[in-house]
Point group: C2
Chain length 391, copies 2
C-alpha cells in the first residue's frame, strides 16, 4: 500500500469496521449473523452424532478460520477443502486431518508433498489409474505415506469413477493397496445431483440412490479384493440437511454450504429462510418515480448473477423482509429494484441512504466476492472474518 | 500471513509467477496478452482523437495501474471509476482528473472530501436534488469546490435524470450553478442500453438515440438557463467501438470494457475474437469416456456463470481454438467439457494436465475473481498486474 493510500485509509479509519455501527459501513458488505451460523453448525454436528458418523466439514463456502471453529466445535479437525490454497490456509491455522477434495493431478504434487509433510493427516482423492501412478512414482515425505481416497461418482457425473464400473474401481484400489507409498483410506462421493431435485421426494430419492450405490460399491470391493474401506463418505448440503437413516451405514458426511445456507437451499428444502446466515447489505442510492424503480449500490460485483432466472418473483436475490420487491437487474456496481406487482413503489419506506439486505441465491459465490465478512449483532460490527482466496 | 503459511509459500516460490513458464502456473489463472490490450487501448485513443473528443477511460474492467497506463497513453489523466475504492487506488498511483461515476449519496461525502483534497481534479456525479443538497450543505476542502456532473438517463434506465425531464434537469443544474461550493462540469450519459442490441443496426440506433437525446438536453439547458456544458460525455464499449460521426459533437467518451473485451462484446460486434485480451487458463483434470466428457479445474469461482444461456454452442465460455468443445457445467472448482456435437471426444488431444484457455463471456466479472493477472508472452509470465478490489 502506498503512503498516500495508507494515509487516506487511516484517516478514514476504514481499515477495520470492528466496533462500528452497521449503519456506517461501506456498502455493499457481506454481513453474517454468527448466532445463525452457530445454530447451523451445531445442528449439522448433531445430525452426524445421531447418525453415528463423523462430520468432515467442507470449508469452501466461507473459507475462514472462524467458520471452521464453528463447523468443528473448535477441534479444527476432520476437514475437506476444494483448493490447495484452502488446504494451506488450514495448515497455517493449526487444522489437521484435511482432505484435498479435488481430483489429484501431477501438477498438485509439489504442494501436496508439502502438506503431507506439514500435517499429521493430509489426504488426497484420485479417480484414475494415472493419478495413482503420480503417487506411486513419487516418494512421500520421510516417515509418511500418501493418504488416498477413491473418488466415486454415484450420479452427479462430475469427478469420480462411475459407481457401476467395478472393474476400474477394483483396478485403482488394487494399485493403491499394493503400493508401499500409499495408505488407502476409503471411498468418497459428492452427491451434488441432489441440487437438481425438483421437490423433497426427488431429493430423498437422489440422496438414497447415492448412498446405496456407494455401499454396493464398497461391498463389491470387499468381496472382490478383501479390502475394507476405513472411510465411506457422502456429502452435499441438501442431503445432509435432510438426512436418511441409510446414512448411518457411512462413516463420514461432508457438507459445506449449510454454514451460511442461501435461497437455493431454501428452495430445495434444506433450510428455512431464517437459517440463511449471510446477506449483502446495500444502500438505496436513487429514486426514479417515472419508472417506478429505485437503485441500490449492489451490482453483480457484490452479489453475482447466479440467481438469474432462478427466482422469478425476487429476481437476482431475495430482499429480506420485502417480498414485494424484486431485484430486477444487476450491472457491475448498480442494482435496479422495483415492485413485484403493479403497485406503486412507496419511496417513503426506502429513503435514499437506507439499507436493504439481499439474501443470495448462492452464498458460496456471493461470499467469494468479499475480502471481509462483517459479523453483526444489534447493529454493531462485532467481528471481521477474512476468508482466504485463490487456488 | 502466519509463519507456517509464509514458509509453505516461500518454499514453493509461488508468491510470484514472474519469469516462470505458463505451463508451471497454478490454475485457474487469468492470463492477459499485453499486445492485445495495447492494441485495444491505442485504437480507442485513436477513435477519440479522430472524433476530436477526449477519452475518459473507465477503469472498472481491469482495475490496475498497468491497464490505466495503456488506456491513457501513460498520462494517468482523465479517468472514470465506479467505486470509491478504485478512485482511492488511482489517487495513490498519481492519477488525476478522476470522475467517481456513481450516483453520489451522503454516505460518500467523507471519502469524496478526502479525494477532492488529494487530487487536482476530482469529480462526482449527481442525479437528484437531494444529492445536490448533500454538496451545498457541506464545505469543500479549503481552496476547492465540488466538481459535479449531472448524470442523464438517455435510455439505459439505470441511474440519471430521465432525458425528457428537462424540468428536473434544469432545477438540478440551477442549484449546482448557484452554489459557491460547486463547479458544474457538464452532463454525462452511460449508453449501456447498447448491450441489449440484437444486431449492429440496433446498436447504432441505440447509440445515436443516446447521443442525440443528450445533445437535445444540453441545448435545452443552454436555451433555458444560459448554462454551457463544458463537458458532454457518452460511453459504453459497444458504442465507442462502433463510433458515429455524431459523437464528434461530444467532448468525452468513457468506455471501459474495450481494454480486455470478451465474448459478449464479440457477439455484439464490438470486437473480433482476436481482440479479446484476457482468458482463463485451466487444466484438464479428468477423462470420463463413459460419458464422453472431461473435467477442468475452472469452476464458477474462476470464470463466473455470467455466460449461462448466452452462448448455446459454447456453454459458459468459449474454449479458445476448440469450437468443437462446450463448457457444459460449472461447479465451484470444476467445469465439465464435452463435444458440441455427437462426435466422440478425442482424449489424446486433451491429455490430463494439459491447458485450455477460456474466453470469458463477461471479462469485468471474470477478472474480478483474480488477485493477480498474468501477462504472458511466448509461454512465459512477463508481468503480474494486481487489481484493486472492494468498494
Amino acid at each position: 500500500m502506498s503512503k498516500q493510500r495508507e494515509a487516506l485509509w487511516c484517516a478514514l479509519e476504514e481499515r477495520s469496521w470492528k466496533g462500528k455501527t452497521l449503519a456506517s459501513v461501506t456498502t455493499p458488505a457481506f454481513v453474517i449473523h454468527k448466532d445463525v451460523v452457530q445454530r447451523n453448525c451445531t445442528r449439522m454436528l448433531q445430525t452426524c452424532l445421531s447418525l453415528g458418523v463423523k462430520l468432515r466439514a467442507q470449508t469452501k463456502t466461507h473459507k475462514t478460520i472462524e467458520g471452521i471453529d464453528l463447523q468443528t466445535g473448535g477441534s479444527r479437525r476432520c476437514l475437506v477443502s476444494s483448493t490447495l490454497d484452502e488446504c494451506e490456509f488450514l495448515a497455517d491455522h493449526g487444522c489437521d486431518d484435511v482432505l484435498f477434495g479435488h481430483p489429484l493431478v501431477a501438477h498438485h504434487l509439489h504442494r501436496v508433498t508439502r502438506l503431507t509433510k506439514a500435517l499429521e493427516e493430509f489426504h488426497v482423492m484420485v479417480d484414475s489409474e494415472e493419478a495413482v501412478q503420480v503417487l506411486t512414482d513419487a516418494a512421500p515425505p520421510a516417515g509418511k505415506q500418501w493418504s488416498v481416497f477413491l473418488k466415486l461418482d454415484c450420479g452427479k457425473k462430475r469427478a469420480g469413477v462411475w459407481h457401476q464400473d467395478i472393474e476400474l474401481g477394483c483396478t485403482i484400489v488394487k494399485s493403491l493397496t499394493s503400493s508401499n507409498n500409499i495408505i488407502f483410506r476409503g471411498v468418497y462421493t459428492h452427491c451434488g445431483d441432489t441440487y437438481a431435485a425438483a421437490n423433497m421426494q426427488q431429493l430423498e430419492e437422489i440422496r438414497d440412490a447415492n448412498v446405496s450405490r456407494l455401499l454396493v460399491f464398497v461391498k463389491a470391493l470387499e468381496a472382490r479384493l478383501g479390502v475394507v474401506c476405513q472411510t465411506v463418505g457422502v456429502g452435499s448440503t441438501p442431503s445432509c440437511s435432510n438426512p436418511s437413516p441409510l446414512m448411518a451405514q457411512l462413516t463420514e458426511l461432508h457438507p459445506g454450504n449449510y454454514v451460511f445456507y442461501d435461497v437455493q437451499q431454501q428452495l430445495l428444502g434444506s433450510c428455512a429462510q431464517d437459517d440463511i446466515a449471510g446477506a449483502v447489505a446495500t444502500r438505496v442510492i436513487g429514486h426514479y418515480p417515472h419508472r417506478n424503480q429505485m437503485l441500490i449500490d449492489c451490482g453483480f460485483s457484490g452479489l453475482t448473477k447466479q440467481g438469474e432466472g432462478k427466482m422469478p418473483a425476487a429476481g437476482y436475490g431475495v430482499i429480506k423482509g420485502h417480498p414485494n420487491l424484486r431485484l430486477r437487474s444487476l450491472d457491475q456496481e448498480h442494482g435496479t429494484v422495483e415492485p413485484t406487482g403493479d403497485e406503486e413503489l412507496d419511496y417513503s419506506k426506502y429513503p435514499v441512504g437506507s439499507m436493504l439486505f439481499i439474501l443470495p441465491y448462492h452464498s458460496c459465490a456471493t461470499a467469494a466476492q468479499y475480502g471481509v465478512y462483517l459479523v453483526v449483532e444489534d447493529g454493531v460490527v462485532m467481528e471481521e472474518w477474512r476468508p482466504t482466496r485463490g487456488w
